[in-house]
Amino acid sequence: MAAPYELSDDSVVVVIGSGAGGGTLGNELAQKGIDTVILEAGGRHEFTDFINDEWGSFGQLAWLDNRTTSGDWRVSRDFPNLPAWIVKAVGGSTTHWAGASLRFQEHELRVLSEYGAVEGANLLDWPITLADLEPYYDKAEKKMRVTRTHDLPGLPGNNNYKIMEAGAKKLGYKEVHTGRMAINSVDDDRPMCQQSGFCFQGCKFSAKWSTLYTEIPEGEETGKLEVRANAHVLKIEHDDSGKVSGVVYADKDGNQHRQAARAVCVAGNSIESPRMLLNSASSQFPDGLANSSGQVGKNYMRHMTGSVYAVFDKPVNFYRGTTMAGIISDEARNNPKRGFVGGYEMETLALGLPFMAAFLNPGAWGREFTAALDMYDHMAGMWIVGEDMPQESNAISLHDELKDAHGMPIPNVHFTDHPNDVAMRNHAYGQGSAVYDAVGATATYPTPPYPSTHNLGTNRMSAKPEDGVVNKFGQTHDIANLFISDGSQFTTGAAENPTLTIVTLAIRQADYIAEQMSQGAI
């Protein structure tokens, strides 16, 4: 079982974070026999402890440490201290995610070449191709049991999906199905989906893939992985040679400890990961670790998102069943004739009544607002998710004054839409509404983006050290034994939900770390 390692053991690889990137990487390393310690800031709540209640679950799982926001995005006005809806718990945001598992399209890994330069956008081609990723996508899909891949059946469509599918077909869309989802469509050692409708609150049946009850216990069974919960990393330390040597963290009582490390892999999501690098500044690295490019924290992406809710004259009860129960992919291609580069997916989404009240139109009140909520059980809904433009000015930075409970500067999240993002969103609102109008919607609501769930790009991958933070294996350009293992290494965002690609990169990175260790390079 779980191997407890000494704080002074400098032979261990320390992974910071236990979500899609960190949880997967930790297990992959342990399977190779590498001694690994995962430090997870949050607590460990097993899936039976999850709460089928939106606010109750939010209190249990969400990352609620204080953050500030700036920029033109509406989240900064409506939720000034909640830029992101992500998780602080073992399993990270894989407890909360909806399960959509789509591969990147080939051109999305070389968007600068495909789109050309876009004014105001810091576009760059990834240093890897789809062909590099395909064998690892295969491994990730098998690990996560993604439906409609490797002979696994799709999930059945729920009421919300039936509406979207019918509307999509009337509009002539062709790529419409119940998605490629990391949610069991057959029973195996985890049960098939019971259509409980609380995907965002953690699946109480463990039908949805989460590192909490897959990767992490598998890794622990090897005896080569220790997952230390309630271990909130404050900074990463280095030795005189400039190699990282250990990690300082605070336990649940606020007491600080130092875990020695042979290598450190940062997977704290795209707000905390750059924050840790910036908070680890030293006399040798005055701008923060791995920041010779100045790109740490920059190019923050959150996907072009929004929702369309529609009201019908008959009941839908869209809260029943898989939250993300189906997809339209026809708009995901790059077709600049629409007035923007890149593309977007349309994916069903439902919220419970409490969150619908909070997110349908934040700040709105009066009879216009309540008229919509009164039709709650007659609503269908979709989320739109597309590629947004990386902008250097959209960034995670350290707050000048505010500190957390451990005395470390808190992060500020600055974001303003690029004109391409706005054009894409408006197109998606129009097409989403058209889907529902085609099947008789009596009202449609173009709903603004929620606090970010897809946080990307703040330690980006680049061929050249001056353009980004990490190389094609997620290894920092500046420090050989420091890696980035989460979505912050994304060079650009693509249209697809990021988790599958984060897992894919983590599997690939584990091979590389093992190789580097066996060669004595790290």
């Binding site: 089928n52 209640d53 606010w55 059945p156 469509g157 729920n158 009421n159 039936k162 509406i163 019918a166 989906c193 019971q194 259509q195 409980s196 409708g197 609380f198 109480k204 049946f205 008959k314 009941p315 839908v316 009860n317 809260y319 029943r320 069943g321 419970g352 009544l353 409490p354 009240a357 909070a358 700040g363 009140w365 009066g366 009879r367 607002f369 309540t370 909520l373 009164d374 709650y376 059980d377 007659h378 099947v439």
Partner: protein
């Protein structure tokens, strides 16, 4: 399709009676509704203030099928906070006094609650919607009202499902009209 029985809630309101259902204020400092069978003890705020908050709550999020008791429960927290925090007490009392006086000047009636039409009351609230008092009131209602499990069935929302085995046998795909 399996649809929720909202009738029970609606028929109960049959005798709970409609918009207005005027709340009374007792000498002992409570706000109560004899016809609707609820009462709110008020500790820190003036009872008149609590009655106004209840009306404002309904005007902010008007759902005609919800009885006043749900709005009363949603704003009661302001009295509890006011009992511990004098600044909050002042925020609420000053906010209500301000809108009462503005209403008297504009409409020549005895304060906000005396204004007969919702649209007129809402117009008064629009004047102060950027102010801290209104933001505190509206912000508190988002959770204070909509997170009351008792009201969920009236919107057709069923709440927790895992304890009932999810919806796989309970209508996740029973839509038959599209």
């Amino acid at each position: 399709m399996r649809v929720l029985n909202k009738q029970e809630a609606i028929s109960r309101r049959g005798f709970l009676t409609g918009a207005g259902g005027m709340a009374l204020i007792t000498a002992s400092g409570a706000v109560l509704s004899p016809s609707q069978g609820w009462a709110v003890e008020v500790k820190a705020l003036k009872p008149e203030t609590m009655a106004t908050l209840i009306q404002m709550a309904r005007d902010i999020y008007p759902h005609d099928r919800l009885a006043d008791k749900f709005y009363a429960k949603a704003v009661k927290t302001h009295d509890e906070t006011a009992a511990k925090d004098s600044a909050h007490k002042q925020l609420i009392e000053d906010g209500v006094a301000y809108i009462d006086s503005r209403t008297e000047v504009r409409h020549k009636v005895a304060g906000y609650r005396a204004l007969g039409w919702e649209a007129d009351r809402a117009a008064m609230l629009r004047l102060i919607e950027d102010q801290a008092f209104f933001q505190a009131l509206r912000g508190g209602l988002v959770v204070g009202l909509y997170n009351q499990k008792e009201i969920w069935p009236m919107f057709g929302y069923e709440g927790a499902s895992a304890d009932q085995g999810g919806y796989i046998e309970r209508g996740f795909d029973d839509l038959d009209w599209v």
